[in-house]
């Protein structure tokens, strides 16, 4: 993923920071975009083309959840890796993630959980 682009969407600064570090440790040249809500993410997506990796939180301030955003992203990013990084491990969330075609990563984040999705 060197010299490519990743978008991290999470209302927690520390989680964005942790995921950013995990990505940059493996791909130092990756351009990292960050948003603290789904609405802010949509603005970034409109301004940046060819994003190679999305990491989305589920519960964020605003009207859209991570899964709502993932559904919208899937329309224009059919084959791009999208992961839902969330503490909400209810089956309904996991099943909806699966139906959208995105991967589910349980918080707390760690390199072991994030790195397999970057290849």
């Amino acid at each position: 993923m060197s010299q490519k682009k990743a978008l991290i969407v999470d209302d927690s600064t520390v989680t964005r920071l942790m995921i950013r570090k995990i990505i940059l440790d493996k791909f130092p040249n990756c351009e990292i975009l960050e948003a603290d809500s789904a609405d802010a993410a949509k603005t970034l997506v409109a301004d940046h083309k060819n994003i190679d990796f999305f990491s989305l939180d589920q519960n964020m301030p605003g009207n859209l959840s991570g899964l709502d955003l993932a559904e919208e992203l899937r329309k224009s990013y059919q084959n791009t890796k999208i992961i839902l990084v969330t503490a909400n491990i209810q089956d309904a969330i996991k099943n909806r993630a699966k139906s959208i075609g995105i991967d589910f990563v349980e918080k707390p984040v760690s390199p072991e959980k994030i790195l397999p999705h970057l290849d």
Binding site: D11, S12, T13, V14, T15, L17, M18, K21, N59, M60, P61, T86, A87, N88, I89, Q90, D91, A92, K107, P108, S110
Partner: protein, 201 residues
């Protein structure tokens, strides 16, 4: 004062006991240390009684509140630390990600995220075990006097609070914390009824 039968109390204790095992594992993962949990002590008390809980009355605390709505009723789950312990916990969580001198800048956010992870794990387990869906909100952070927290969060409806107090301790460190729930009495009764029905199946 509202009343729970011994069977209702037992079923709720077991439910929280199971849910907390997973939460302790997660917290251990986050701070790279072992968490020692006590057996849940379940009390149904008034807001006035809650204000005078030993070790917390007159203390400065930090809490992360996770409000929830769903089949078991509306309520709030809290992760609570003594204020003096909070920075140490954040240091343990963030040590590989930021410089130690930057830790205090991230204190509120890091504690909120710890609360989000721990409380969501417990609530997800509650949902699974009771067969109810639970919707959670974005966690809210509070720092201040413990009494002020209880006064602000007391349910208006029937003045009952389910305090499932679980003490946890970080092995080898002088850091203690608590997890507790505020639910109105109808929700508590409903939850115990569902659990007892499940046990009979």
């Amino acid at each position: 004062m509202n009343f729970l039968s011994p069977l209702e109390k037992d079923s709720l204790c077991e439910l929280f006991n199971i849910s907390l095992g997973g939460a302790a594992k997660l917290m251990g993962e986050m701070i790279s240390d072992e968490i020692l949990l006590t057996v849940p002590s379940l009390q149904l008390i008034t807001a006035e009684e809650a204000k005078n809980i030993e070790h917390l009355a007159n203390q400065d605390v930090c809490t992360i509140e996770q409000k929830f709505v769903g089949g078991i009723g509306d309520g709030s789950a809290f992760l609570l630390f003594h204020k003096s312990a909070s920075l140490e916990i954040v240091k343990m969580m963030m040590k590989d990600y930021i410089a130690l001198n930057e830790v205090s800048q991230f204190e509120k956010d890091a504690l909120s995220e710890i609360g989000n992870i721990i409380l969501n794990a417990i609530l997800s387990n509650l949902a699974k075990l009771s067969n109810y869906k639970i919707e959670t909100h974005v966690p809210e952070f509070f720092a201040g006097r413990y009494e002020d927290l209880i006064i602000q969060r007391s349910p208006k409806k029937d003045n009952s609070i389910l305090l499932v107090f679980i003490d946890y301790k970080l092995k080898g460190k002088d850091i203690k914390g608590y997890i507790f729930f505020i639910l109105n009495f109808d929700s508590i009764k409903n939850l115990s009824r569902v659990l007892i029905e499940k046990l009979k199946q």
